[in-house]
Symmetry: C2
Subunit: 465 residues, 2 copies
């Protein structure tokens, strides 16, 4: 429906501002575009002649002619020789603005697992490292880099994996990635390309199952975990050609993969020509002794080790690495190239500087002390307020597993706590079928102050024990 | 084959360093692990007793017992009651270190298209913005963020897209991504999920075709480009339900999509319920007039606009954005979540600060001047040294298209230039079939100093014109 231009105050439409820094022709174009986009000027509607509009706005006619030409090039206006300029047919489709998103209600004290202490993030050190990276990066580093990652960082990470995780590592086998989700995705894509489309994972296990199943070409099969880690006989029976697991500190049960299982697992991998994806998610945090060395060191041709800084620094950095089996390294780097053409270079160089300078190790030492103290507080608070609860798992990581007395129901304890604004998480959430077995809670303590841990446990003690 | 421990100088194996900061038990474990991994200690080989090793190394026996226990937990050693400790069976698989990679030989002066001037990257401004981001980000921002990107950056980008590109934009429709490749991948995945598995792209067109075809569920179909842009009749005949194109400045031909084609394209999209992916790759750089406004402003429900900082700042930052059609925004953000759980937060906040502070615009103004001067030098140098060459395309972007006289062969000109260590690139490389039509070169000038442009053209003038 064409509406004639009324002439009643185009300044209402235009709002030209001569004090504003933007050129007047930009302002006119902007105002016209906006009027068409918002539906105030509709398809077919006639615009005033350039003579009339320039007179009304006090602009040169040439300027208005230029504006109309620009908007005609862009498709907003149409002109036919000897006829008026009109809003082009189909120049706009009105869309309602999106509704505001609802804010989720968070519990006052939240024992959500997997969250590190972000107040401890070493901002000064990170900024120092970024500054070093940003100032000293060669110009050639500012373009698309090697998809597998900066050579500088890969060398530092290989040395780190050897030194700290007992890995067998070369820079050429390292692929820098955006964190665990991307790392796993890249490995699964590479495996699918080799025909290994059936992938086992731990049950109960981390919530990244959905990443596994979201990758269309991979079929995910659950394999049970007991107190010695993953059940290798069940794994062998599953027909999987790859397995994703957390051998140093199983998530969420907190057990360690026993030496016998390690050997059985490696024998399975050699026999079936299978790949083991080692999720090294919290290897930096063990409090009673050294962390268990990476499985990768025992079978570098069979194991893809994924590490990240999500627990050690912060998830927001989105930095991780894959120490690839040599036979898969090129395919995985190729996948990274297609995914996003490599991770941001300054971030990579900053991490390299942070590790090389010793500041990363210093930060880890400090955080180990913080986390060990929080874990101690959790143990004492449970003993005091919920004495019937039994604590399991290693003295490691950022979460503990609390077994409730058999007569307690997981979901009831979780709901009662929630009613008191305390966030608790049941083990059943980490089972594929969501069913409760012996009632257990997975208590994240890494991000909570000792006073919050004490207060939170005190508030729900009667609901637990 | 089991070899008995010879006892001839375990210090050869161990290299303990008491001055070194690492604890002695770590050094012993490290040395043993390394000896097994490298094959110096082989499967089945007997280790000295803890008594003997501790005596030889001058360490406490408890320390050596602890080391053996650690390596047994990790699977390197096996112990049976009453029997010697041995290297575990299958504890290691020897892998040769990777061979060093060969360095590619680069031409002395390289007219490779698509490379911005990286010496102009505003390091001070970027570092300032990173510092602001790193110092002021709330602690809550340090964890996993919204997959669609930081709310702060999305608001800034929506305002930028409205102001600079004439787009219709809301923060809720923005998804921050790692650059063009990831942005396109996310859109294609979302389209494939809606059943739009056939995607058209421009022929000749950007080299990201391989990204299109690498995504398994998408079938890529080429549609020819002429002097008015993409051939919409051919597009309609192709049966595609989506098209990827560069309307403001076609890559590589340099033409602009005409107003008539714009309307025909939008009519096609409405009629077929199709999606237009607008690659806004160098919109910031037009030298003779304002850049053509984004197609997205005409049909925000049909167009996904991808912008990045790869040309305006540097590819190494790996930052871009998708202004999504509202109906696809949630699916695309979901895809980003599965891909990498969001882009790095400090980088996102830094870009927001850079734009908000006006430093981004200032940088663009400066670079427009630099690029316009380089383009001028290229035109003059060609006129002087290769007068038979005809320059085409808009006064825009970081590349120009040079048409050679008909009797010249593209690949011969490229080869002759290469022999003189000058990198030239033929238009045929951007055609799917690689065939030469009228001989044309795509000359990237953005990253070359004026003296290099002059020198490079002078060196190959006789081969061109």
């Amino acid at each position: 429906m064409a509406i004639e231009w009324t002439g009643s105050g185009p300044e209402l439409l235009m709002r030209l501002d001569r004090e504003n820094g933007d050129p007047l022709h930009t302002q006119v174009e902007w105002a016209l575009r906006e009027a068409i986009q918002s539906g105030r000027l509709r398809a077919g509607e006639r615009l005033p002649s350039t003579r009339r509009l320039s007179a009304e706005l006090g602009l040169s006619r040439g300027l208005v002619v230029e504006c109309y030409a620009q908007l005609q090039s862009e498709g907003y206006l149409s002109t036919r020789a000897g006829s008026a300029t009109r809003v082009a047919a189909g120049a706009t489709s009105l869309l309602p603005p999106p509704p505001p998103a609802a804010e989720p209600v968070r519990p006052r004290i939240d024992f959500r697992p997997g969250v590190p202490d972000l107040t401890g993030f070493p901002r000064q050190d990170w900024l120092w490292a970024l500054g070093e990276a940003c100032r000293t990066a060669p110009v050639a580093d500012l373009t698309y880099g090697e998809a597998g990652g900066s050579g500088v960082l890969r060398a530092v990470l290989a040395a780190y994996a050897r030194r700290v995780r007992g890995a067998v590592a070369h820079p050429e086998w390292m692929v820098v990635c955006a964190g665990f989700a991307q790392g796993l995705g890249l490995i699964l894509d590479a495996l699918a390309a080799t025909g290994a489309g059936r992938v086992a994972f731990e049950e109960p296990g981390p919530a990244y199952r959905d990443v596994v199943t979201a990758r269309a070409r991979v079929e995910a099969v659950p394999v049970p975990v007991d107190e010695h880690g993953i059940d290798v006989a069940a794994l062998a029976a599953s027909g999987a050609r790859a397995v994703v697991l957390t051998p140093a500190h199983q998530f969420p049960t907190g057990v360690v993969l026993s030496p016998e299982r390690r050997h059985a697992l490696l024998a399975w991998a050699h026999e079936r020509d299978a790949v083991i994806v080692e999720d090294d998610y919290d290897a930096e945090f063990r409090y009673d002794r050294e962390p268990i060395g990476a499985l990768q060191g025992l079978a570098p041709d069979r194991v893809a080790l994924i590490g990240t800084v999500s627990k050690s620094l912060a998830p927001a950095l989105r930095l991780g690495w894959i120490l690839c089996p040599p036979s898969l390294a090129a395919t995985i780097a190729h996948g990274k190239r297609y995914d996003d053409r490599g991770s941001p270079v300054f971030d990579q160089l900053a991490l390299a500087r942070l590790i090389e300078s010793g500041r990363f190790d210093r930060h880890l030492r400090r955080m180990r002390g913080v986390y060990a103290a929080r874990r101690g507080t959790l143990i004492r608070a449970l003993a005091r307020h919920a004495p019937a609860v039994e604590l399991g798992g290693l003295a490691a990581g950022l979460h503990a597993v609390a077994r409730l007395p058999d007569h307690r129901q997981e979901e009831v304890a979780v709901a009662e706590a929630r009613a008191r604004s305390i966030g608790l998480y049941g083990m059943s959430a980490y089972h594929l079928d969501g069913r409760t077995r012996p009632p257990r809670l997975v208590l994240g303590f890494g991000h909570l102050r000792e006073s919050e841990i004490e207060e939170g446990v005190a508030a729900v003690g009667d609901a637990l024990g």
